[in-house]
């Protein structure tokens, strides 16, 4: 049964069907096989609806909305200018600033796609002008966006938290360490890349220019303050923080900067709704598929087959990393989490692994999957907004992927990278 299902799904996917069809087909075959016909498809509909029901998923459209408003207006650009004013003169400074901008934007956004658009949009032209190759630039942008996924808030962590019942606040704090580690790794790599290719630096900004940039970014600096202060100060939940960002972004772009009118607000909301719909129908279809897998108790069979119960904590963590890495390469990472997290839950519990560490490692794999071929969503986003062919977008990615996998291994052996801050805050 399982091979019929997976086989059909992969074939339909590769043939270019809309991605909801492979997922729907997978669950359809499952339902027919489980119940001997299509008489119980009501339940499939129920599961599709159940998939998009969790209240915390509301954060997804809200952050897309906020980021879109900021990118269309001035907030995103002004934030980037600050980073540039301080690091533009350093060797590889523009590249490092790009990674830095992703980190900063990450404190506002939980989505890698939003980060690719918001940071990559304005910075790619500047990097090309400064003499970086497009191959390096594109790879840096789509991979540095992963930082935003690990720095709180993070859609991946929200969904993992909901599915696994893990504290989202703890996950958020645990993401900071790995996020900053990626920034460090990419900065070092960028430095040597710039050195080897002799990329010129920008002139050092004067303190007056820096001051000016800071002043111009005073209002947009409210975003991190709202989110971090708001969540950790007990004003609102992560989901509500996303909506608060929308409100603040609207306040800035419509009233303070007067960059956006009602017409654009409408267009932005519509575009957010559209992106939400095409992503959420996949989340729903993924939930229906996951129901079949769960009902037929397939994962139990597979996991029993590989003997995960006898592996011990390191074995389990490696297995989880590999499973999620491969899963996220092929399927929307949210769907992967919805399917795989419940499957691994018993063994995680039995091994006594810290669900926050597991969540951080899984979130990292989701982030990596956003930029790995064949289905990385950031690749598609980059193709869409930069109008570059598929192969060109991914050509420069291997060194970045290797660094990120290195971080995965490091997390397994040195969990303190993630847990240090969490323990400081909560233990």
């Amino acid at each position: 049964m399982i091979w019929a299902i997976f086989g059909t799904m992969v074939v339909l996917l590769l043939l270019g069907f809309p991605m909801m069809i492979p997922l729907v087909a997978g669950s359809l075959i499952g339902f027919v096989m489980l119940f001997g016909g299509i008489g119980q498809l009501d339940t499939m509909v129920q599961q599709i609806l159940g998939g998009i029901r969790p209240a915390s998923l509301i954060a997804v459209p809200m952050f897309i909305f906020a980021a879109d408003i900021m990118t269309r207006g001035q907030s995103a650009n002004r934030l980037i200018d600050v980073v540039m004013a301080f690091f533009g003169h350093v060797r590889g400074g523009l590249a490092i600033s790009t990674a830095g901008a992703c980190t900063m934007f990450g404190a506002v956004s939980g989505s890698t796609q939003a980060t690719v658009v918001a940071v990559g949009g304005p910075l790619r032209p500047r990097m090309l002008k400064a003499g970086y190759s497009d191959k390096f630039t594109l790879a840096l942008i789509i991979n540095a966006s992963d930082i935003a996924f690990l720095i709180p808030p993070s859609i991946g962590m929200i969904i993992y938290g909901v599915v696994s019942g893990t504290s989202i606040a703890e996950l958020f704090i645990a993401g900071i360490g790995p996020g900053l580690t990626i920034l460090l790794m990419f900065s070092i790599y960028s430095y040597f890349h710039a050195l080897r290719h002799d990329v010129p630096t920008e002139p050092r900004a004067s303190w007056a220019e820096r001051r000016r940039a800071l002043l111009r970014a005073l209002w947009p600096m409210g975003f991190p303050a709202i989110i971090i202060g708001g969540i950790y100060g007990g004003v609102f939940s992560p989901t509500e923080a996303a909506a608060a960002c929308v409100l603040y972004a609207l306040f800035l772009e419509m009233i303070v900067f007067r960059e956006m009118g009602f017409r654009q607000l409408y267009a932005t909301a519509k575009s957010t709704g559209l992106i939400t719909a095409v992503v959420f129908i996949l989340v729903g279809a993924g939930a229906a598929f996951s129901y079949v897998i769960s009902f037929a108790q397939i994962p139990q069979a597979i996991l029993a087959g590989i003997g995960i119960d006898e592996m011990g904590p390191y074995g389990v963590l490696f297995t989880i990393s590999i499973a999620f890495f491969i899963g996220c390469m092929f399927v929307d990472s949210i769907v992967v989490v919805l399917i795989l997290v419940p499957i691994f839950a018993p063994v995680v519990q039995a091994t006594g692994l810290d669900p926050v560490l597991v969540g951080t490692i899984i979130t990292l794999q989701m982030a990596i999957g956003s930029s790995t071929p064949p289905f990385g969503c950031d690749i598609f986003t980059a193709i869409a907004i930069f109008k570059r062919p598929y192969l060109e977008v991914i050509r420069g990615t291997p060194p970045f992927i290797v660094m990120l996998l290195g971080l995965t291994v490091a997390l397994i052996f040195f969990p303190q990278i993630a847990l240090f801050l969490r323990d400081l805050a909560f233990r």
Partner: protein, 332 residues
């Protein structure tokens, strides 16, 4: 045959213990096997209920608090201070209640369900950041409750600010201070680590978390008499088992919590301290009569009569108006 049985909690929690006992009994006394699906594996509480109604699942354990969306009368278990705090009275009530054994089954039947049993899961306790001894102490305190109008009005009547919040965000919200309290049975407070983010556990005695096991009616009616008997016997055995299992469970859970967090305070309010809380029950009763469906009044009256009978049978003092109120379901 393989019978599929879904419930709202994890295997190691009360509903899971009940399910495992049921499975053991059925499999020992028949050729059938029972497949268990714990919380979340086939969807949320409403999902497994619907799947049982459509016959994909054979058995479902759902707390009346959730069933209230389908059978409004079931919300009677949200009325505070309806169920007794005395364990013997409580057990006697669940065994003999006419409301449970005669009035509720036809209501479940209308939804295609055979009500097999209702059983208690444990005293609901309030955990908060600041100590609570009177309704005044709850003033401005935001208490997380599950989304239910009766539960909301119960906490409003207590003087608190009831704040519906998804269960997944409750821990974080307590931690960061968005809310300052939540309620659950002790075993659930222990297993979900709610005590880590609150400092005081208060036993208001306002409710005992109640849950129910039911079967798909067509499935059940279609079974030969001996299979039906196997099921009934297994339910009885599981009921006895869970009552026994529960004796001392709250104390055990509280002891574990105290061990993990010595600074926690656990306070059982005195009869006198409970009076002002009990005084608010009347308002919630009225609300129940308003939204509890056509049978609300009959059910409430019968419950009260059953409780008086249970109090007499157990030889205890006549019920102090009995607590109720479905806590946020553990499975939430």
């Amino acid at each position: 045959d393989t019978w599929r049985y879904a419930f709202e909690e994890a295997l190691h929690e009360v509903q899971g213990q009940f399910a495992q006992k049921f499975k053991e009994e059925v499999e020992a006394n028949s050729d059938h096997t029972v497949q268990l699906f714990p919380f979340g594996t086939l969807g949320e509480s409403a999902d497994i209920m619907e799947q049982t109604q459509s016959g994909i699942l054979h058995f479902v354990n759902q707390s009346p608090g959730f069933t209230g969306a389908l059978i409004p009368e079931a919300q009677v278990f949200f009325v505070p201070y309806l169920l007794p705090q005395n364990q013997d009275q409580l057990v006697s009530f669940f065994r003999n209640s006419k409301a449970i054994h005669e009035l509720f089954p036809p209501l479940y039947e209308q939804q295609g369900l055979e009500l097999l049993t209702m059983y208690p899961e444990g005293e609901v306790m309030l955990t908060t950041k600041a100590p609570v001894a009177s309704p005044e102490d709850l003033n401005e305190v935001k208490v997380r409750v599950m989304t239910n109008p009766l539960l909301v009005s119960a906490y409003q009547a207590f003087g608190a600010t009831p704040t519906p919040l998804p269960w997944g965000e409750t821990y974080g919200a307590l931690q960061t201070g968005i809310i300052q309290g939540q309620e659950n049975p002790a075993f659930f407070i222990e297993s979900t680590k709610m005590y880590e983010v609150t400092d005081h556990i208060t036993r208001l005695g306002h409710n005992n978390f109640t849950t129910a096991l039911m079967a798909n009616k067509d499935f059940f009616d279609g079974l030969p008499e001996e299979d039906q008997q196997v099921i009934r016997d297994a339910v009885d055995a599981a009921f006895d088992y869970i009552i026994d299992y529960q004796t001392g469970l709250s104390d055990e859970s509280l002891a574990k919590i105290e061990e993990a967090k010595p600074s926690i305070t656990i306070t059982e309010l005195t009869e006198e301290q409970r009076q002002p809380f009990m005084a608010t029950a009347e308002a919630v009763e009225q609300e129940f009569l308003k939204i509890g469906g056509p049978q609300a009044e009959a059910i409430l009256e019968q419950m009260k009569a059953d409780l008086a009978a249970a109090a007499e049978a157990a030889g205890g003092p006549v019920a102090d108006e009995t607590p109720t109120e479905e806590a946020e379901a553990p499975a939430d």
